[in-house]
């Protein structure tokens, strides 16, 4: 802001990219998490989201430090290890017009936070839930996370004897309504997915393979840049369309492009790559995930989308105004009512 020597281009609401920045990153150079921060900035800028309309949440870990590094003008809460979803749930009820972005790690969400991760999905709280997945505990210096592949060897830890947690599979099992996987080494797709997630009316889980260059980036490990680059398979080309009026599917594309409408008039445009994949079909989603597992692929794209399931707020009969702005009169029942209450007490 005010620093006019920097990029002065503005978006439709008159903000520069600078207005979406956070504090300088203290993560390692090259850490995948930095790419995530960058794409959140890009997506919010592109979608003309006012930073004041966003609230950021995170747990504990390198990934969870990340919210400091984007959207400084937003409120945020860096909570406890594994407990971001509950914090976000309570806070978002305060003003449901706010857009929640939760940023967590694979340790944070798939290990200590497994329960909260699963349950927030099930409740379909409107929240962009990004899991920066590096297969390792970065901040505590390189222990196995539950997403680490079986038989992976790490310096001080030896060999990982357990089967990995598949975050997308977990989100599916938990009935999440938006399940995607992205790769920090593929920023464009990541950005489009974040955009779509920001417009999804429910919990949008994005499992981002986000390499830890310091403790876990050997070429043969499935959470490394090299492996990702080699094994990534986009299930489709995805683009988010803020205004569906704009969609023109030309003849050439017909049959290869599919539009999925979101709740607010925006759309996701999906362009076939290879096979036919319908992200609104749960069967296909499960099969696709299993298949990727067996064939050693880093499958990326929008794996599943359900726009019909109602968001969590729906069943709460909330007022139009934010709950946290209700005046005291609305909070304390009138004097007269107490007599009635006392009469109930028997």
């Amino acid at each position: 802001m005010g620093n006019f020597s920097r990029d002065t281009k503005t978006n439709a609401i008159g903000l520069t990219r600078e207005d979406y920045r956070g504090a300088p990153s203290t993560l390692c150079k090259g850490c995948g998490h930095n790419a995530i921060a960058a794409q959140i900035i890009a997506a919010c800028y592109a979608l003309n989201i006012s930073p004041e309309d966003v609230v950021k949440f995170s747990g504990i870990g390198c990934s969870s430090k990340c919210p400091t590094y984007f959207l400084s003008r937003s409120f945020g809460f860096n909570g406890l290890h594994g407990r971001m979803p509950s914090l976000a749930t309570g806070a978002l009820f305060a003003d449901t017009s706010l857009i929640g972005i939760g940023l967590s790690g694979d340790g944070d969400s798939a290990s200590i936070g497994m329960g909260q991760f699963k349950h927030v999905c099930r409740r379909n709280l409107p929240l962009v839930y990004i899991i920066a997945n590096n297969g390792v505990y970065g901040l505590t210096k390189g222990q196995f996370s539950p997403t680490a592949e079986k038989n992976l060897e790490l310096k001080r830890q030896g060999k990982n004897p357990y089967l990995p947690v598949d975050i997308c599979m977990e989100a599916m099992a938990a009935n999440a309504t938006f399940v995607a996987r992205a790769f920090a080494g593929d920023p464009k797709q990541l950005r489009e997915l974040i955009k779509a997630a920001l417009n999804h009316n429910g919990t949008a889980v994005i499992d981002v393979i986000s390499p830890c260059v310091t403790f876990h980036n050997l070429d043969q490990s499935i959470h490394s840049y090299a492996w990702g680059k080699k094994h990534e398979r986009q299930i489709h080309e995805i683009s988010f369309i803020p205004d569906r009026e704009e969609i023109v599917i030309d003849e050439f594309e017909e049959g290869t492009v599919k539009e999925i409408e979101l709740h607010d008039g925006t759309s996701i445009l999906i362009k076939k790559i290879g096979g036919d994949y319908d992200p609104t079909n749960r069967f296909q989603a499960f099969i696709m995930l299993e298949d990727a597992e067996i064939n050693n692929l880093l499958l990326t794209g929008l794996i599943y989308l359900d726009t019909k399931q109602e968001p969590m707020y729906e069943s709460f009969n909330l007022p139009d105004a934010a709950l946290n702005r209700l005046p005291n009169e609305k909070l304390r029942p009138a004097d007269e009512t107490l007599e009635m209450v006392n009469s109930w007490m028997l």
Binding site: E52, G90, L323, K330, R332, P333, V341, N342, M345
Partner: protein, 615 residues
């Protein structure tokens, strides 16, 4: 049918009116609760002071359970250790029941139970429940439930309980369900009539109408707490079921729609979420508190233990939140359906690192209501967790009480800045060459100004965290900054002392010894003081209602040669905290504590003090 025994001892036949204890011994899950409550309510409606205690097992059906009604002309509400009248419906415990009867007491028992050899100093009334029942038209699937009403009728006859009041009590219970009312009242009537015809009264117990409950209510602490919170403007609760706290959030769910639905829009001004566990319940609630909602939750021991980490965060990040700890017997799962005051030191020192929590301790259902709203005010005023410590006895039992009082203070939201306020404070600070900071102590009272998400004013946002932070909420590992931050938190708690509920004291002329207690032990202590006075031991009394302790506490201790600290735990936890705070006075404190799951009785307190004083 065993014949009614005739008691010859004269003393026993002198009438006892309105001053004894009735216990119903049944099997849980058999539907006796309605019957027992009906008796309680009928007595209340007769104008007689009563309280009702449920002593139940930690299971759902088939185990012994007891409901005890204390009838007390003088209005004593504490537990009595001995029963005068027992209604025995459980084969398994019938011998035990008899053991608890006073000399000359009455045992009413269902005559299909095997009656073992009995002491011969009690009155036995067999009740042909099955027979009477068989003559009534009751659908099979609810027969055992309705049968309980028969003993209500018989008891009404024996004790002279006003049948019309019984009917009123039933009407209250069944509300619009007239046929249910009729059927149940029919059973009452049948029992009553049978007794009138067949039962020769041989015992000295009876009740007589009074005028002592007019304007009073009968309530449990958990409902009171829920209602108080509702009047306190509570807006959010993440909760997880646990005995004996569950009925608090369930009361929220019941009453909120009635009291807090907007008349114009029909919209709710609150949200209640059943969480997946206590870690999540407190997380949600703290999230809401941070978001600017009046937030609270309720739990019991095991849940509180699980909340330790999150409450530490709320303490350090300065998030207002209220936690009701409805205590049961610990450690561990302990006795989930029994009462204790055993979480006090834990709550005080909860969470790693230097923490300190404001603790409120209500001593009556009316105070549960009051602390319901007050706790929310205090939490928001001081931006800190407030732990309200109730217990099973207070929370789940039925207490006679003056009606709940409408809050006599406006809702206090503390130093929250919305857009306009923020602008104003920015200007004010501007003049001083300063900027607003979330943790900046502008007023020198340790309490900073806070903003909440949704405030769209640029510059009003901040990034909250449980890691070290400076006045501007910036991440900091700077030693001095850390130290200053923690010291300010101490100062804040000092400031808070001023608005915390002061202890309640009651004096007796020429009292030499003092009694300090807190919470649900109040009625037993009140009664014990009268008993002690009769024995020539006159006592002053102080009931602590908040921590940190305010100045009245040491003053009280100072003014007495000796002060008994009475509580329901093993280690004398309140005494421990008093010792810690006022070591110079500790030598004058005497531990008087017991943990067996039962509320203290006045008799026990009296005995203990008498023995100690006479030593």
């Amino acid at each position: 049918m065993t014949p009614v025994q005739v008691i010859t001892d004269e003393s026993l036949s002198a009438p006892y009116v309105n001053d004894f204890c009735i216990t119903f011994s049944t099997v849980n899950g058999s539907g006796s609760a309605t019957a027992n409550l009906t008796v309680l309510r009928a007595l209340f409606k007769m104008g007689i002071p009563v309280s009702g205690r449920n002593i139940f097992p930690s299971n759902i059906k088939g185990l012994p359970t007891w409901f005890t009604i204390r009838v007390s002309e003088q209005g004593y509400l504490g537990r009595l250790e001995k029963d005068a009248v027992v209604v025995a419906m459980n084969q398994k415990t019938i011998l035990e029941e008899a053991d608890w009867l006073v000399n000359g007491g009455v045992l009413l028992y269902a005559d299909h139970l095997d009656l073992p050899r009995m002491r011969d100093d009690i009155v036995l009334y067999p009740m042909p429940i099955k027979k009477i029942s068989s003559e009534l038209e009751i659908p099979r699937q609810i027969r055992t439930y309705v049968e309980n009403m028969i003993y209500v009728g018989i008891l009404a006859q024996v004790l002279e309980i006003d049948l019309s009041k019984v009917k009123e009590a039933l009407a209250y219970h069944f509300k619009e369900k007239h046929s249910a009312l009729d059927m149940n009242y029919g059973a009452v009537r049948a029992g009553f009539d049978w007794a009138a015809e067949n039962l020769v009264k041989k015992d000295p117990y009876r009740v007589a109408p009074m005028n002592a409950t007019e304007g009073y209510i009968l309530a449990d602490g958990n409902s009171a707490a829920a209602l108080g919170s509702i009047y306190g403007g509570m807006q959010f609760s993440g909760w997880y079921p646990i005995t004996p706290a569950t009925s608090l959030p369930e009361a929220l769910i019941e009453y909120l729609p009635l009291l807090r639905t907007d008349e114009e829009t029909g919209k709710a001004s609150y949200a209640i979420v059943q969480a997946e566990d206590e870690l999540s319940a407190i997380g949600m609630t703290i999230g809401a508190g941070w978001g600017g909602l009046r937030a609270m939750t309720a739990t019991s021991g095991p849940g509180l233990s699980l909340m330790a980490e999150y409450l530490g965060l709320a303490y350090y990040a300065e998030v207002p939140v209220v936690v009701w700890d409805v205590q049961r017997v610990g450690p561990s799962t302990g006795l989930p359906t029994r009462s204790a005051q055993g979480d006090l030191t834990f709550a005080h020192f909860m969470g790693h690192g230097d923490t300190q929590f404001i603790i409120l301790i209500p001593g009556s259902v009316r105070e549960c209501f009051e602390f319901g709203w007050r706790a929310l005010d205090i939490a928001e005023e001081f931006q800190t967790p407030v732990i309200v410590m109730s217990d099973l006895d207070l929370g789940m039992n039925h207490w006679l009480s003056k009606p709940f009082e409408y809050p006599d203070e406006p809702i206090k939201r503390g130093k929250v800045l919305w857009e306009k306020d923020f602008e104003a404070i920015e200007e004010r600070l501007n003049v001083l060459g300063k900027k607003w900071g979330r943790y900046l102590d502008i007023d020198g009272d340790g309490v900073p100004y806070r903003t909440v998400p949704g405030n769209r004013r640029i510059g009003s946002s901040y990034f909250a965290r449980g890691t070290g932070h400076d006045d501007y909420a910036g991440y900091s590992e700077d030693p001095e900054t850390w130290k200053r931050g923690l010291d300010r938190l101490s100062l804040k708690l000092e400031t808070a002392k001023e608005v915390l509920p002061k202890p309640v004291d009651e004096k007796m002329e020429k009292a030499e010894i003092g009694i300090i207690t807190s919470g649900s032990t109040y009625p037993a202590v009140e009664e014990a003081r009268d008993l002690l006075a009769k024995k020539g031991i006159r006592t002053d009394y102080l009931r602590i209602r908040a921590l940190p302790f305010t100045d009245e506490v040491p003053a009280f201790i100072c003014n007495h040669e000796k002060t008994y600290v009475i509580e329901t735990n093993r280690d004398g936890q309140l005494k421990q905290l008093l010792t810690l705070e006022f070591p110079d006075l500790a030598r004058d404190l005497r531990k008087l504590s017991k943990i067996d799951g039962m509320p203290l009785s006045a008799a026990w307190i009296t005995d203990q003090i008498v023995v100690k004083e006479r030593d």
